[in-house]
Subunit: 758 residues, 2 copies
């Protein structure tokens, strides 16, 4: 099978870089001084029996982070970043993740290394067997498993260009066996470039044990790492041989189960290895990447990008020896490289140069011009060992210590996760509510897929239960007509009024002429003129004590500029509060105050604004819970109306407003007042939302005096608006008052079974 030729065919070319990726990353939980954590796996992470993203590996302290399968490395890394963020923020506040493959200093007594407390006794039994067979300390090594799948279209196109194999499954098996053998043959290069376990902590190797001459490139990838006993031997000649050998060893008791076979690669497909000939190998698992301490998540995109090119090269490159010789040579070379000194020149320079030359030829032939840079960078490292990961590590360890390295980097990555705790790494470009909601789903182990990123469209899945969610608040729980009712102010008012709630009385007009004729009805009242569909307060005029015909007409013209329909409405005096109602409960009540500063008698408005903007909750473009206060034209005009300049110094405790409107999006303050409200108002909000038929609703009530008890059929309140897409992030991280975790309430409403199952 001449893959090199097939890959150059016209129909194949568009797909050569198409692939699917997945990753598992292990890490030990440790205290800030580098001691193995003695706490249990965080309870807040839900149930380990099904958690798709966060599991425990061998020990209770050993986290295993699992990304979903993605169509690009970039996409996969976003998930890894997010899962990292969730894991760190879900852990005990005084713990971090150990950034090294080699475990931190371990307790002296083996009993203090606790096996993962799984629900399934089977899993516990297997770990007990491993502890006995290999020793607990070996099992504490961590690393990365990278799952790689050639794109289906690529495989299909290759298959269709040949005649030797008649089924796609057979063809895939041939393909993956070739790649596996080439990987084992050339993997020394991966060990050289990315090996990252140069030294062990005292006590890792027992006194009696043989041990490597540290520092090396990778203890983990050497014979001193985590590997099967000598008598485990597998042929890679064909998939059939491979399966038969493993089967035989399981039957003879050399291995306890198939999965005890440790190799740098594993062929994956059906549920059991025996299924592979029928189902075809679906993907290959690369198991030899050490944790890179210089990458916040243990691995970086550039390295994986190189591995991706390497995988294409392994398909491209011919094998030069008989299969088992080829693999055996590779094993031998890898051991040499793994145990070499991190600063030492590798002895395989000629073969290394050949590999890079062939890779360069490949990318030129296939016109993968974007790949050149990655090849050059990694090729350079072949002659400069101190640029490899192990090299860089040894530079630090030599003048400090391995433990220092682990603690400093571990702490840095821990702090990163708490810098902007309202955001979720990997998904910072999405709306904040969706970031919060993604956090919750990942934490509770509900599978989440992003169907449309720009549109904040998610698919959730737990077992067979699928839900689609948009903007983190639009769900299957509301009926289609309900948001349409709420979107329409006139209809909302009619529905609420018919159900006996107090709403401002008023009229809707679609012609200026008709609106003018109604003047006499409003002339002497407090009233508001507004476009039917409002947009950040544009076109609204409030007349608190009636209006002259001229003012009335002018205000109408202003409103008609914004919309073809205009509402003239009674003005209800009082303070406006946002009641967030979800599933028949008021989950939060918020007061929004226009952008403002409070004087101290010393500093200028400008200085006060600058200080207020230092709050890490303030940001721009709706990616923070609060927005930066601007000092633009609108704000300066507002100051001018108060006879102030940006340089004016307000008196102590003087509140200076910089905006008329109270939107958080224009720098307003959000104040949680949920617990200060009488139950009677909450009941009114709940019943009004029920009358609208909504499950999730932000309903705005004007309350003249909240110290008075609210009653439905009275003027103790008035309902101004019902919002079908209410902001949730401002409740989670308010300017003052208690934060309300509403996205978790949405998740609970959608997946009660996940919350009950613990």
């Amino acid at each position: 099978m001449k893959f090199k030729e097939l890959l150059q065919q016209k129909n194949v070319r568009p797909y050569v870089l198409a692939a699917r990726f997945g990753l598992e990353k292990e890490s030990q939980r440790v205290t800030f001084d580098g001691q193995l954590a003695t706490t249990d796996h965080p309870e807040v992470l839900g149930n380990r029996s099904y958690h798709p993203y966060i599991q425990t590996d061998f020990s209770e302290s050993q986290m295993e982070l699992i990304t979903p399968v993605a169509n690009s490395i970039h996409e996969m890394m976003r998930y890894l970043a997010a899962i990292h963020d969730v894991t760190l923020r879900s852990m005990n506040k005084h713990e971090m993740l150990w950034p090294l493959s080699m475990p931190p200093r371990l307790p002296q007594k083996d009993e203090e290394i606790k096996i993962a407390k799984l629900d399934q006794f089977e899993g516990v039994l297997y770990r007990r067997y491993l502890a006995k067979e290999y020793g607990k300390r070996k099992q504490m090594i961590s690393g990365i498993h990278f799952n790689f799948e050639y794109d289906n279209e690529l495989v299909q196109q290759l298959f269709s260009l040949q005649t030797e194999y008649t089924t796609i499954e057979e063809f895939k098996n041939i393909l993956y066996m070739k790649v596996a053998r080439n990987y084992l043959r050339y993997r020394w290069l991966i060990t050289y470039l990315f090996g990252a376990s140069p030294v062990s902590e005292p006590g890792y190797f027992t006194e009696r044990e043989e041990r490597p001459k540290e520092p090396v490139r990778s203890i983990r990838n050497s014979s001193f790492g985590y590997k099967n006993n000598e008598n485990v031997k597998v042929s890679y000649e064909s998939l059939q041989h491979y399966i038969e050998d493993i089967h035989r060893m399981v039957e003879n008791g050399i291995l306890s189960e198939e999965k005890e076979f440790y190799s740098a690669v594993r062929l994956r497909g059906g549920k059991q290895m025996a299924d592979l000939p029928k189902t075809g190998v679906r993907y290959i698992e690369l198991r030899n990447l050490d944790l890179n301490p210089f990458a916040p998540f243990g691995v970086d995109e550039d390295s994986l990008g190189f591995v991706h090119l390497f995988m294409l090269y392994l398909l491209w490159a011919d094998e030069l020896e008989a299969p088992n010789d080829w693999v055996a040579t590779g094993e031998f070379l890898n051991e040499q490289v793994a145990l070499g000194h991190p600063f030492a020149q590798v002895k395989l320079m000629a073969e290394g140069d050949r590999i890079f030359a062939e890779m360069n030829e490949m990318i030129e032939t296939l016109a993968l011009f974007g790949a050149k840079k990655s090849l050059d960078i990694h090729h350079a490292q072949l002659r400069t060992p101190d640029l490899t990961v192990a090299g860089k590590m040894w530079t630090i360890i030599e003048s400090n210590s391995n433990q220092d390295l682990g603690i400093v980097f571990g702490k840095e990555y821990h702090d990163m996760a708490f810098e902007r705790p309202y955001q979720l790494a990997g998904f910072r470009n999405m709306e904040l509510s969706t970031q919060l909601f993604l956090f919750d789903a990942i934490q509770k182990g509900v599978e989440v897929e992003i169907l449309d990123e720009q549109e904040q469209f998610l698919k959730l899945k737990h077992k067979n239960h699928v839900e689609y969610v948009k903007n983190a608040n639009m769900t299957s729980k509301d009926s289609y007509i309900v948001p349409l009712i709420m979107e329409n102010k006139t209809v909302t008012k009619k529905v609420l009024a018919e159900a006996g709630f107090t709403v401002p009385t008023g009229d809707e007009f679609d012609k200026l002429e008709y609106a003018e004729q109604a003047y006499v009805k409003y002339a002497e009242k407090a009233f508001v003129i507004k476009p039917k569909t409002t947009n950040y307060g544009l076109g609204i005029t409030i007349f608190k004590e009636g209006a002259s015909l001229a003012d009335y007409t002018e205000a109408l013209a202003l409103a008609f500029k914004e919309d073809s329909a205009v509402l003239v409405e009674e003005f209800m005096p009082g303070t406006e509060y946002r009641f967030f109602v979800l599933d028949d409960q008021v989950r939060a009540i918020m007061l929004r105050v226009p952008a403002n500063v409070v004087g101290d008698g010393v500093r200028s408005v400008e200085a006060l604004v600058a200080e207020k903007n230092l709050n890490p909750l303030r940001g721009t473009n709706h990616r923070s819970p609060l927005e930066i206060i601007q000092l633009g034209d609108v704000e300066r005009l507002m100051l001018k109306e108060q006879n102030l300049l940006v340089t004016s110094v307000p008196e102590k405790d003087q509140i200076v407003y910089l905006r008329e409107n109270s939107n958080v999006s224009t720098g307003g303050d959000s104040i949680d007042v949920t617990d200060t409200f009488d139950e009677s108002y909450k009941q009114i909000a709940i019943e009004a939302v029920r009358a609208l038929g909504a499950k999730i609703c932000g309903i705005d009530l004007i309350v003249p005096d909240k110290s008075v008890q609210g009653t439905k059929n009275s003027r103790t309140y008035g309902i101004i608006e019902a919002n079908f897409n209410p902001a949730m992030h401002m409740h989670a991280y308010p300017h003052s008052g208690k934060g309300r975790h509403l996205t978790m309430d949405v998740l609970r409403m959608l997946y009660p079974e996940v919350f009950e199952s613990k």
Copy 2:
């Protein structure tokens, strides 16, 4: 109580013309030659036991049309028009409504006049009693009952300005009693202006009976009309007297029930008359309007506008005699006027002039300048009797016959209802689907209220079951997330693909640069470039045999002009069909063909288009099932590409397309092909809609060859799009093929109980 002064107060002025209106109109069903219909009440109208709009009065042939309560006469008349349309189109195709108050020529034998076949035996018994007490023929007279209620705000304002009465109920009773007495006193003017029963048909009066000297102004409003026996006497001095008198008569057996008390007015409020003192009179029922044969619906807006002013005048004007004298004078004067010759001058000229003078004074004082015209028109009729309704009728009857009058006008109004059977009178400004849906709701007796006319937002009610509907297809039956899925092409495709359906493969790009990089993937394929959100086909380019890089880039730029996200998608060859799926059934399949004409070898394109546009189904602005074919720039360009001009003469049977796109909105033809499709395709459409979770969906399938059986996991079809707001009117009245009444299916889905109850 000086109402005249109260009405002039500042706080009252805005509300003087505010009122609520309702109307009941009786009409006999007759054949086109004026014979009483012998058929039963139309079964298609559903169940009379609750029908809010269409009932039967005394006889099985006597329709009673009932409008809902409205805030303006205009609004009320829209409903009357609509109910009329529904009634006529629901009747036997060879029947019409008799446009006169006096019945058509009646069968000789009383037995042939059939009492309404009501389900409730009580109702039947009461009608049997009436037949015995008054004779069946008298009960066959028809007329209009007009319900009038002064606006609540008006009454409240008046109430708050006086101190004499302490409860609003007491005040309302005083108010309505005054108005009732004034009405009875001055109603001769209404009889004069609007009386419309000048003659009876032979056989209406029996030989032995006393009869008026025909022609008169109004038999119905005279002592020869439908009135109680002489011994029925009621005092109008106060509400208490009024109630006591009626009660006494019922107890003494002079009346069988309260409702047997016939008077020109009735005071209405609580469930029973006895409740009135407590509940207060809510409205007044005016019972003396004859059917006006010159108004298509038996009464016109102008006349009712005058009655409205008259009602305000009755509140304004002082009573000049003691209550019962005042009423008795009115009864006497009315009898004189009713029995006067239609052409005769009325003897009450002075009083008439006084009434108009006072009304003029009133509208001037209250600044109701818009009312002047109506007063002038009706005042002129005081001196010109042949301009009154009775006068105009006698002009025709004299030279033809009463029966001719009834037949000619009845037929004209009947034909009006069938002129554009897809529209609904009164609501022609709404979207066609909503008109069809309103028709269905009125026909089946589901109460319907228009919450927002521009937005096609309806509230439906049957007993306690409320539903809200927008665009006739957005209902509570779909969940919120479903239309959001369908609105998003990328998400729709992902959901369908994951469920195993065939959709075009492709990519979404939000940057031109990324899209350009994908060129190699599409270069050799058949593919389409389109904006993610399409709008009448703008920005779409189809490459049926691959594309050059230049063409590819140009097409991308075109698409990015329309949207910030662009899809590059495999092109699926075949014909596109719209499957309309509702409640797990395919209700219609439609083929849409671009605007076209078929040549006859004689006429020009222009002439052929003109002829095709004669089809009454074609109109403009989406208010017809098909649109007029234009001959604008786009069409001329399309002709030019075929080397044709609008003056060219196509050959016989040559199909000339005038548009590339097949939208019905640009003159395309809609062809129903529901019955030509194999069940397999219907099943695919149903399952795909189920996968999307939708109850109502217009799903577009590309089918290469519909003679081949469709299978889910194959290229026998491809799903292009799923529409959450699918047009329904084009299915109801297609260009060719069978019409599908989809709006009725929506109504059935919402109200199964209404369809089961028959």
